[in-house]
Amino acid sequence: MPRRRGNTTISPQGTPNRRNTELALLVFAVLLPILAYANVGLAMDSRLPAGMLGYGLGMGSLALVAHLLVRRFAPYADPLMLPIATLLNGLGVVMIWRLDKAGRLLSGNFPAARNQLMWSALGITLFIGVMVFLKDHRVLQRYTYISMVAALVLLAAPAFFPARAEDFGAKIWIRMGSFSIQPGEFAKIVLTVFFAGYLMVKRDALALASRRFMGLYLPRGRDLGPIIVIWLLSLLILVFENDLGTSFLFFGLFVVMLYVATERTSWILFGLLMSVGGAAAVATTTSHVKVRIDAWLDPMAAFSPHPPKGATEQIGQSLMALGSGGVTGSGLGQGRSWLINFAAKSDFILGSFGEELGLTGLMAIFLLYALLVQRGLRTALAARDPFGKLFAVGLSSAMALQVFVVAGGVTGLIPLTGMTMPFLAQGGSSVVANWALVAILLKISDSARRPGVVPAPATEGQGGSAR
């Protein structure tokens, strides 16, 4: 099934497994956050933080265990992804800890670094679990329709939980007492499984069985059905849960995967038209969305003596944090990004990084994400099975879209949507889900780069029973 053109596709045969490269990078990825941790301690308290050795060893040994299991269970996996995830996660924890120290200045705040560390450990455990128990990513293909149901349940669930004032209108959490998860992050992966499984089966029908109309290939109704359903669903999520980011992410994800599966440019056009239409309709009817757009157009309006209704000063604060950071930044622990208020370590953590590490640091972080995404897409190119290709494309572009949506919102490029920066931001669900995402990508890359052909296990999807 995978078409190989020798001059452009990465040839998996004879590739060195690069595990030692990974180990070397991993040492760097562990050392850097530890140094950053020391830096914050020195800047804020003029001494090295207590427990530096303990945290360093803990983080180091977690990374080491993850690495050893990759060595054992995915020996040919891409060497960059684990170090990048470790580095981002580690830097995120340091920044959250640094903002915890300024906690007295943040309203409605709680110490979060310890939680984040715990969730990170849980994330790495899940990563290890995927390494050990997911023998072959193609197994997931069997769960195409179960995934669809699971994704819908996950997405719909928050609507049944009461909204809280401090969430700024977004209903994207499931809460049980003090425990809360953000199901959208997990739905991202589960939905990608469904998309990849469904499209792998339907791709020929979608690509070929269509009528030509005004230069465009229009698909048949029964093939078009699912995209309409997904589109409406994403708008419903947007309307009921006030979650722009997730609906945009899922819709974008679907269009990208559809395009890759069918190789039809017309899908992109459809997708764009529908998303613009949907967004325009929602923007004019929902006050929540309108407020976000107003805040994007005039971030400083919230500071005026008579701020518009529902105005938040966070975007303005974030821009001022970025501006004050300038090119070189104020230095870790020496900025005042807590002025962005509690979101300084969740949605707006990039603003905190931008202030303390400056443009230089921000560019480095963007490059890390770019590398992570491009390694994922490279994996997609190299993958030998269409499901793996689609799955890898989906996961990688989901990551890219999420980074774009969050960072674009924080820097004022696009309206704010309230998602979290993968790995960096405070938030258990996000960290755990993204570790799982990286684990799956690693497994796909392992099978893609593995020398010799591995026979695919029998799956329901391939048998055509999905029709």
Binding site: G323, A380, V403
Partner: protein, 484 residues
Amino acid sequence: MNKPIRRISIFCLVLILALMVRANWVQGVQADALATNKNNKRQLYDRYAHPRGNIIAGGQPVTSSDFVNGVRFKYKTSWVDGPMWAPVTGFSTLGQSSGLEALEDGVLSGSDDRLFFRNTLDMLTGEPKKGGDVVTTINPKVQKAAWDAMNGKKGAVVALDPKTGAILALVSAPSYDPGTISGYDNDATKAWNDLNADPNKPLDNRALKYTYPPGSTFKLVTATAAFENGMFQSIDDATSTPDPYTLPGTQTTLKNESPNERCENATVKAGMDQSCNTVFAKIGADLGKDKMRAQAEKFGFNSTIDTPVRAEKSVFPNSASLDGTAQDSIGQHDTRATPLQVAMVSAAIANNGSLMQPYLVDQERSASLTTLSKHTEKQFSQAMSPATAQKMQDLMVSVVQDGTGKNAQIPGVQVGGKTGTAQHGENNSGLPYAWFTSWAKTPDGQSVAVAVVVEDGSDNRDGISGGRLAAPIAKAVMQAALGK
């Protein structure tokens, strides 16, 4: 499927590139505008991230920058004897400041352009940034004497060096401790709100910002105008004044303060000694509005005086009628003067007619004691001829020797003064203000000029007079200034 994957790769790259371009735009191009945005509180916190410079009087700092190491603010300014120094220094709180703290903020906070080289050098050598100092002209002994002499009364004291214009004391009472509002906590906010709500207005600088009717102290200006315009040749020349005096063009008669005063056709000296309203109202009316205004303006009326703290403009009005001018000429009606202005009148007389520009800041200097600026003395005007000045000095000495200002006598020192009891309020219903302005000279050439005003000095009308309430304060200030 690889072709669309490559395109998606490019698309993802474009997304990240867009973010990078945006980050460069925000953190590179717009950075300065955002960093200096008025809503960016970092600027405020930056100012308190390093020690602020001090305001210095008599070689000693009256403010100090204390390391409190708060999370928002690292340093906090405190005051030594805050209430006494507040009229000199002003205050500096979050978002608001006044007086020297406001005007000299650039030097004190270290953001002044003249400190740029020093700051850059410090940054390179790892020295912590520190604001520069402002050296005032205030003599702490005089300031303390004035503050103590006021002793809780409401009013103001200004002392000048007549030869240079240096302000030696600047007291306004009731006052406040700027240290209590320099913090960033709830206490500071509460103190700030309390001060603003206080009916006695302790935050107001009465010495510079309040204009009072100068009352009889203004007769010095009127007498000067009379001599300068040749109306009299000597202080013993008789005036042809009826008692009571009917204001020109009206049926209103002007009386003197008490029936004991012998003001009818009194000499200039006798009129001054007894502070005869009739004598000086008639002189003013006879000279006319224009000549009176010209003389008042030579003393600084109707001008903006920046010390650099700006004083409220003192006013000699452009009265529509002659009876108004007559009343203006005895410091009533629409004439208004700041305590500083009244001190300037005495200073000009003491300095042989030459009025020096009053100033409060002698030097600005960096934390490393490099001088950034030094005041050079300037003449404000030649308010009168030296001959007139001599006559005026004789008149004022006479007031202290034989007249209403006896309470200001200092043994072994030549003292000249003038009392004032200024009516104010609707139909003069308010308790009058007690004024005293004076100068003193020692044989070795030291001199000082003082103005004192006391509001609400007594519960009843009869208890209030400039000689009784204000002259002892002026005396204490002059003694401190001359070391007697």
